[in-house]
């Protein structure tokens, strides 16, 4: 459904030092810098797949989504979505996709959301019967009710986001790009959004590419993740494999009936956290079967759970490793260049 080949996007940005003098100088003489937002990214997404597109701020996630949606033109490389070249913005292509952005809204601010839905129905040429069916479904899944009749400016952020999603789905897109759809929402609203996205995907076999800083979204929705950092692809595979590769250990979380010395706990594994009666221990995956009964026997354990390390930690570890590898290769490149130029000088001499 989605094919991305060596995609690259460069921006030319005006650069100046802080201060009045630099600002004045920049009026007369501008210096520009080329920023590579997306650098040689390739991946594929099959129809009906739900893929998490992850990376730290400024990694190039949104830029990639916007190129896939046809909003930005790639500097080089190619992207195909269901056989279309997004940058051509063909009508057939635009009728199949939608980009939902948690930080931007398309709803008409002073009018009720129902008016935006109606406008979208006309723009997408949705037959009246299909429109009514879709709206009834969206109403049921998102519990829109009377919300659609109130002016948008009077809705809360969560209510607005529900209506944003409904407005985006009036034409039942086959491919849905979700850019931080749960940003700023409370926990229960986040959960209902996730449930909705999952049901939409299952009901219509829609392909979903999601970016989010909330790992809960990714855990609940995306069996597969594509990770980019500084514009480059650093991982593409299942979440489980990523966790296993980077953090093969398990976490034992214990609630104790009485305090225990840290030295005694450390005999069973690495103490990650020790706060009076609450202890988090890191142990090798293979040791779980032995360590758990031993600890239950040795300590006054009230409660015990076994978990994977938090996904946030796994991600930071991945980013740290990628950066270290990149710095190493850049350093090696620099050394190589210096040596070459020294050789050249030697030749000249």
């Amino acid at each position: 459904m989605i094919e991305v080949r060596s995609l690259r996007k460069e921006y030319r940005v005006h650069k100046r030092a802080p201060g009045l003098a630099a600002a004045l100088r920049s009026v007369f003489r501008r210096t520009y810098e080329t920023i590579v937002a997306v650098d040689d990214v390739s991946f594929e997404v099959a129809a009906g797949e739900r893929v998490g597109f992850l990376g730290p701020n400024g990694a190039g996630k949104t830029t990639t989504l916007k190129m896939l949606a046809g909003l930005l033109h790639p500097t080089s490389g190619e992207a195909h979505v269901d056989g279309h070249l997004p940058r051509k913005r063909e009508r057939a292509f635009l009728e199949k996709i939608m980009l939902v952005m948690g930080q931007k809204q398309q709803l008409l601010w002073d009018l009720p959301p129902a008016e935006t839905f109606e406008l979208n129905r006309a723009i997408y040429d949705v037959p009246r019967a299909q429109y009514q069916e879709t709206m009834a479904e969206l109403d049921e899944l998102l519990e829109l009710g009377e919300l659609v009749k109130k002016p948008t400016r009077q809705l809360s952020l969560g209510e607005r986001m529900k209506c944003e999603l409904a407005a985006a789905l009036v034409h039942r897109p086959k491919v849905l790009f979700l850019d931080e759809p749960t940003i700023g929402l409370d926990v229960s609203m986040q959960a209902s959004m996730r449930a909705f996205v999952k049901r939409y995907n299952e009901r219509w076999n829609a392909t979903i590419l999601l970016t989010s800083h909330y790992m809960e979204d990714v855990l609940a929705l995306c069996p597969r993740v594509v990770v980019i950092d500084k514009g480059q692809l650093s991982y593409d595979g299942t979440l489980e494999a990523l966790v296993r590769r980077l953090r093969p250990e398990k976490r034992l979380i214990l609630r104790l009936g009485a305090e225990v010395a840290e030295g005694d706990l450390a005999r069973y594994g690495k103490v990650v956290e020790h706060e009076k009666l609450r202890v988090t221990l890191q142990i090798a995956h293979a040791d779980v079967r032995e360590v758990v009964p031993a600890m239950l026997a040795a300590f006054p354990v009230v409660d015990l759970t076994v978990e994977d390390p938090p996904l946030e930690e796994v991600m930071s570890e991945l980013f740290a490793r990628t950066r270290a590898a990149r710095e190493k290769s850049e350093k090696a490149e620099k050394v190589g260049k210096t040596e070459t130029s020294n050789d050249e000088k030697g030749d000249e001499a």
Binding site: L94, L108, L111, E115, I123, Y124
Partner: protein, 262 residues
């Protein structure tokens, strides 16, 4: 074509609903627009108080030009400026994304995004001025002249719209172009005078660069039954070229769109 007519209707509907939402503005602005007709004629009355004709235009004939000025002004303020400001805002905030995501022509969507209905009362002012002018002349325009004048008005609107699209396109390069609307308004103000009153450089600028003369003087001449066929033909060619240029400039500007926030 039918699809776009339907889209136009639905976009217009949203603007009407918005106008109804703020009906206080609707009434107040409507009354103000009609009241402003009187001061807009004062300079003309002062000038024609001294002499009976200026550069071949009598007072009632010059009033016909003022009528077209009011008519086009209704269009600028009611349909052109609101959408122009909306596009500038879209580019600045990055919400033009939603326009570009829609399976319809982007230029059409931004051009029909917002209308300010109460400005339509300015059309009423134009009708009042024309009625008064022809009453003073002692005869009414011939049906053929009305037809030519309406055609000429269509060409004027095309030129005005093209200039607007070119202005909007600069928003993709410099982002803040709000002040351009003020410049646009003050230059357009010169269109209340028959074009023959301008001499030298101003005449060249107002004929070829910002063809104000074509916009108000030509339709007035048509209504007065003295527009030459060459002038009509020239205006048609000019309007076509302006529309073509506007289309090319807008498409190129879209390619420059960088979106915002991400």
């Amino acid at each position: 074509m039918i699809r776009y007519l339907r889209l136009f209707r639905i976009q217009l509907r949203a603007s009407v609903l918005l106008a109804m939402q703020y009906r206080g503005d609707f009434v107040l602005d409507g009354v103000l627009e009609v009241l402003f007709v009187a001061p807009s004629i004062v300079p003309l009355v002062v000038v024609f108080d001294q002499r009976s004709s200026i550069f071949g235009w009598t007072f009632p004939e010059a009033l016909v030009v003022v009528g077209f000025f009011h008519f086009l002004n209704a269009l600028v303020e009611g349909a052109i400026n609101p959408s122009l400001l909306a596009v500038v805002e879209h580019v600045r905030k990055g919400t033009l994304d939603f326009v570009l995501l829609k399976p319809a022509d982007a230029q059409f969507l931004v051009s029909t995004a917002r209308f300010q209905m109460w400005k339509a009362t300015n059309v009423l002012s134009a009708l009042l001025i024309w009625a008064f002018a022809f009453h003073r002349m002692g005869h009414w325009p011939r049906p053929l002249d009305v037809l030519v004048a309406v055609t000429m008005l269509g060409l004027s609107v095309t030129i005005l719209y093209s200039l607007w699209i070119i202005t909007v396109s600069t928003a993709f390069y410099v982002v803040r172009i709000d002040n351009l609307t003020y410049l646009f308004d003050s230059i357009f103000d010169a269109a209340r005078w028959p074009s023959s009153v301008f001499r030298g450089v101003l005449r060249i600028v107002f004929t070829f660069v910002i063809p104000l003369g074509v916009m108000t003087t030509f339709p007035a001449e048509a209504l007065l039954g003295r527009l030459s066929l060459q002038a009509l033909g020239g205006a048609a060619v000019g309007a076509f070229l302006a529309a073509l240029l506007a289309r090319v400039v807008f498409q190129r500007a879209l390619g420059r769109y960088t979106s915002a926030g991400g």
